[in-house]
Symmetry: C2
Subunit: 568 residues, 2 copies
Amino acid sequence: MAQQANELFENFDQLTPSEFFRKNKQMLGFTGKIRSLTIVFHELITNSFDASEEAGILPDIDIELKRVGKEHYILRHKDNGPGIPEDYVMQVYCQMFAGSKFRNIQSRGQQGLGCSGCVLLSQMTTGQPARVISCYKEGDEIKGVKMKFKMDVKKNQGLLMEREDYPAESTGVCIELQFKEVSYTLAEQGAFEYIRRTMIGNPHAKITFKDPSGHKYIFKRAANITPVLPKEVLPHPKGVSADDIHFMAKHSDKRRYKSMLTSSLSRMSSKKVDEIAEITGIDMNKSPKSMTFQEAEAIVNCFKKMKFMAPPTDGLIPIGSEQIEKGMKQILKPEFVTTITRKPVTYAGGVSFIIEAGLAYGGDSGRIVNEQRKSEIMRFANRVPLTFDAGSCAITEALKSIDWKRYGLKDLDNTPLTLFINIISTQVPYLSTGKQSVSPEPEIVHEIRQATMKLARKLQKHIRAKKAAKEKEKRSKVFEEYVPVIIEEAAKLGETGVPEYHEVLAKVTKRALAELLGEKVEDDDEEEEELDAIIMEEVDEFGHTVERNQSALDNFDEKNEDEEESEE
Amino acid sequence: MAQQANELFENFDQLTPSEFFRKNKQMLGFTGKIRSLTIVFHELITNSFDASEEAGILPDIDIELKRVGKEHYILRHKDNGPGIPEDYVMQVYCQMFAGSKFRNIQSRGQQGLGCSGCVLLSQMTTGQPARVISCYKEGDEIKGVKMKFKMDVKKNQGLLMEREDYPAESTGVCIELQFKEVSYTLAEQGAFEYIRRTMIGNPHAKITFKDPSGHKYIFKRAANITPVLPKEVLPHPKGVSADDIHFMAKHSDKRRYKSMLTSSLSRMSSKKVDEIAEITGIDMNKSPKSMTFQEAEAIVNCFKKMKFMAPPTDGLIPIGSEQIEKGMKQILKPEFVTTITRKPVTYAGGVSFIIEAGLAYGGDSGRIVNEQRKSEIMRFANRVPLTFDAGSCAITEALKSIDWKRYGLKDLDNTPLTLFINIISTQVPYLSTGKQSVSPEPEIVHEIRQATMKLARKLQKHIRAKKAAKEKEKRSKVFEEYVPVIIEEAAKLGETGVPEYHEVLAKVTKRALAELLGEKVEDDDEEEEELDAIIMEEVDEFGHTVERNQSALDNFDEKNEDEEESEE
C-alpha cells in the first residue's frame, strides 16, 4: 500500500517556462475575456513604445482588430520602431524569460514575458501561428523578413513554419495574432479605453486604431517632441540588499571590491569606499569573486549608516506638465485643465521617483455611466495606464484621503472630472504580479496628495472665477438696463437732451463691478497668489485667523511646495 | 543618435526561472515580513502533507523556529514522510519548475515552485546554504543522506557543498533554513495562526511546534484515520479546452484519436467517440499526432453539445464532517459545534467540487481582538488555509451575502463564532497567483451559502434551546419552591401529615413544563425536523402561511438540500 520514495518520484519532471505559464496564464494577467485582450494591447503597445524610444524614434502605431467570429479576433499591430534582427524574432516572441530589459532603466515593459505571453495566448485559444514582418537596419541597408512560426511549449522556443525575404522600405515590426475567448468592449477595463489612456500619458505618440466595427480612430500626436532617451542609472547604495551586492560581486569583472563598488553603484566614490573599509574593517583590495555574504551584509549595513547624495535623477524622464496638458486637451477637450510635475524625491531611503498629475474639468472629462457624467481616475506608472487592481493602489489611497469638500467639490463622484496621476521611477514598487497597482509607500502617497491638492486648489479658483463671471454678467446687465433709464429720466427732469453715455457707462460699470466684487489687478505670479489664498484661509486651533509673515513663506522656494493638510 | 536594431539587441539575454523569481519574489507570495514567513511555513507543511499522504503515512511534523537575531531566524522542519531519494533532493529544493505534481490530482502543493522558493528566499536574505537530511526506503533498506547545498541561480540548479551518509532509522526529510527580514507574530496572517488553522483542516495530522520563545505547542492528532489516497482523475470532456485536447494528442502514445480520447478523458466511451465522429465528420482512426487545432476545436465544441455523466468524484477526498468536528473540538473547545460535507457538484460545466463547512460557537471560538471576542472566518482549499486576499474570495462573498439576522445573529461580528469553509476539487479556480482566494463561480458561491445556512439554522436551534433550558430551569425553580409550600399549607388546612411528594413533583413538573414550552417528543431525524422548521416559517406573498404537502419534500432526498433563500 505505502509507496516508496523512488516510486513517488517516477513522474518527476522539469517544466519549461512556457509549459509553466501555459498552465498558469493568469500569472501573465490573462484572466477574463475583456482583461485578456486589454493585456494583449498593453504588451504590444508598451513593447513598441520602448523599442521606438530606445532608438530615438517618435512612435507611430497602427492597430487593426477584426472580428471574424463570436469571440474570435485577428489583431494586426504595426509599429515604426527599429525592428528586430531576424535571429532574435523568434526569441522575442516565443522564448519566455528572454529579453533585453534587465537593466536599471525606466522602461514600461515586463521582463521578457509580455510578447511571448501574447503568442502563447493566441496559440492556446486558436492554434494559429504568429505572423511577423520585421524590417531593420543592418549597416546602411534596411533588411526585411516575413515569418510564420509557432511556439514549441515543451522546448520554450519558436518553431519556424515559413520564412521569406520582405521588401523593406522603413524599419518596424508588424505582428498578426489570432485570439479566441477574448472580448472587445468600450468598458473602462477594455482595450479601447486602454488606448485612450495611453495617448494621454504619451502625447508624443500616434496611434491609429481600426475597431471591429470598421471605425477608424486616429489619435494624433499632441506634442511633437522627440522623447529624451532614458538612461541606465546605477543603483543607489540605500536601495540595494546584501543579496544584490553579493550577486554583483560574484558576476563582476572587476579585480577589487573597490572598483566593483564604484562601478556598480551610483554616488559611490573612492573616498566613500575608504570610509566603508574603515568602518567594516573589510579589505577593499580583495577580488569580488571572493566576497562572502556576511561581507555583503556588513557593507549594506554600513550603507545604511552613511550619508550619500540623493540618487541621480537624469534617468527619470517625466512626461512634463506641458505635455500632459496637451495630451489631456487633445483627448478630453476640457473646459479647464491644470497639470503639475513635482521635483524628484525618494522612497525607501534611496529610490527616486517623480509624481506628475493632471486635472481636467468639463468638456469630455470624466466618464459617462448610465447617461451621467462621473469623475474618473487615470493611474499611470512610467506612462503606462494601470487598468486593474485599483483598490490597493497608492494612487487610489492618496486620492481617497483628500478632503475634496475643502476644494469646493461636494460630490466628487458626480463631477465631470478626469484626474491623471503618473509615477515615474526606475523601480516602481508594484504590488501585484500583473504590475497593475503601486505599493502605498508613505513618500509616494504624500507626493500624490500634494500634487493633487495643488491642482484641486486651481480648479477651485477656476470654478469661483466662473461663478464670479456669471455674477458680473448679471450685475452688468442690471447697470446696462437701468442706467440708461435713469439717465433718460434725469435728462427729462433736467430738461436737457440725453447725452452720449454708452462709452462712459461701459467704463464706469467695469470699475464699479470690480470694486463690488473685490477684484484686484490681474496677477501673473500664480504661485504667490495661491499661497495668499492658503494663508488667508488659515485658521488656528482657537478659531482665529492666523497671519504668517513673508519670511516663513520663503521656505517654499526650493523644495516641492506642500499644501496645508489641515484635518478638521 | 538613433540606435540600430542590432545594437539594441546586444544585451539580449535568457533568464533562468530562478533568476526570474529572484527578481520577482512577490510572484511566489514573498511580500512583507509576516507574510513571507507564513508562506515558508505553508510551502514546507503542504509539501510534507502531500508526500506523507501519497505514501499512505499519517503526517507527523516537528517544527522549530529559533530567533538568532533581530528578524533573523533558523527554521528546522522535520517530517515522517517517505523521504526524497538522494538524486532528487537538490532538484526538489533548488530547481524551479521541477516537480512530480503535474497530474490532475487533488493536491495542496504548487507546481514545483514552493520548496525551491523557500531555499531561494533563505539564500537571498542570509546567504546561508540549505541543510537537508533525507531518509528513504530503497528496497528493504532505509538509506539516509545529509547534505548542505546552495542554489545556483544562474543555472537553476543545486550546488552541493557537503554530503555524508546518515544513519537512518525511519523515513522522512528534515530541512534547516535561515531567514532574515521576516517576522514571527501571533497575528491572524502570521505563522502560528497558519499552523492552528492547518490543524483544523487536517485533524489526521500531528504538528509539534517550538516557537522562538521556546514554548512548545503540541497539536495532537484529533482523528486516527489513515487518509484515503487521492486518485488521479482524468479530465471531464466538459472541462477541457481545444488547446488541452490538441496538447494531449500531440503528446499521446496512442495510435488513434479514438483510443487517445477514451484513455485521456473520463466518461468517454467508444460509443461517445462514435457519436463525435458522426457529428463532426472527423475520422477517429487517424493518428493523434496528426490532429489539427481545428479538429480539436470541433471535438470540444461537440463535447459542449453532448450529454455526459457527471465527472467521477472518487478523486475528491473531503475531510468529512466527523473529522472536521473533531478538529474544531480539539482546537476551539467550543460550547457548540456543527459540521457538514455536501455532495459533489460541478462548476464551469464539468469540474466537480465538494463544499465542507463547520461552525463552532462559544469556548475558544472566534478571535480575540482588543480584548473582545469576534467572529472569524477560516477559508480552506483542499485543506490548505487561505490566509491572504480574503476580499475577492468566493467564500467571503458567499458568507457576506447571507442574511444572518434571519438566524438570530444580530451582530455577527461580535459573536464568538468560528466559521470553517473548505473547498475540495482537483481544479480549485484560484483567483490570485499566490493561490490565496477562490474565484466566485456562481455554483461555488451557491454551495457555500447553502452549507453555511444549514449550519446557521442548527446554531439558531442551539441558542433557542439554550434559552429554553434557562427558562425551564427558572420555571422549574418556581415549581420546586412553591409546590412544597402549597402542599405543606394544604396539609395544614386538611389537617393531615405532609405526604412524600418529591418524586411525584419531579414528574409532574417535567410534564407540565413540556406542555408550557410547547415541546415535542425528541426526534432523532434531524433533517426532517429541520425541513419542518423551514416549512413552518414559510409565508406566501399575501402573508399567509403556506403548507406544502409531503410529496413536494421528496425532491430533497437525492440532492443537496437547499435552504430557502427568502429575501425580504
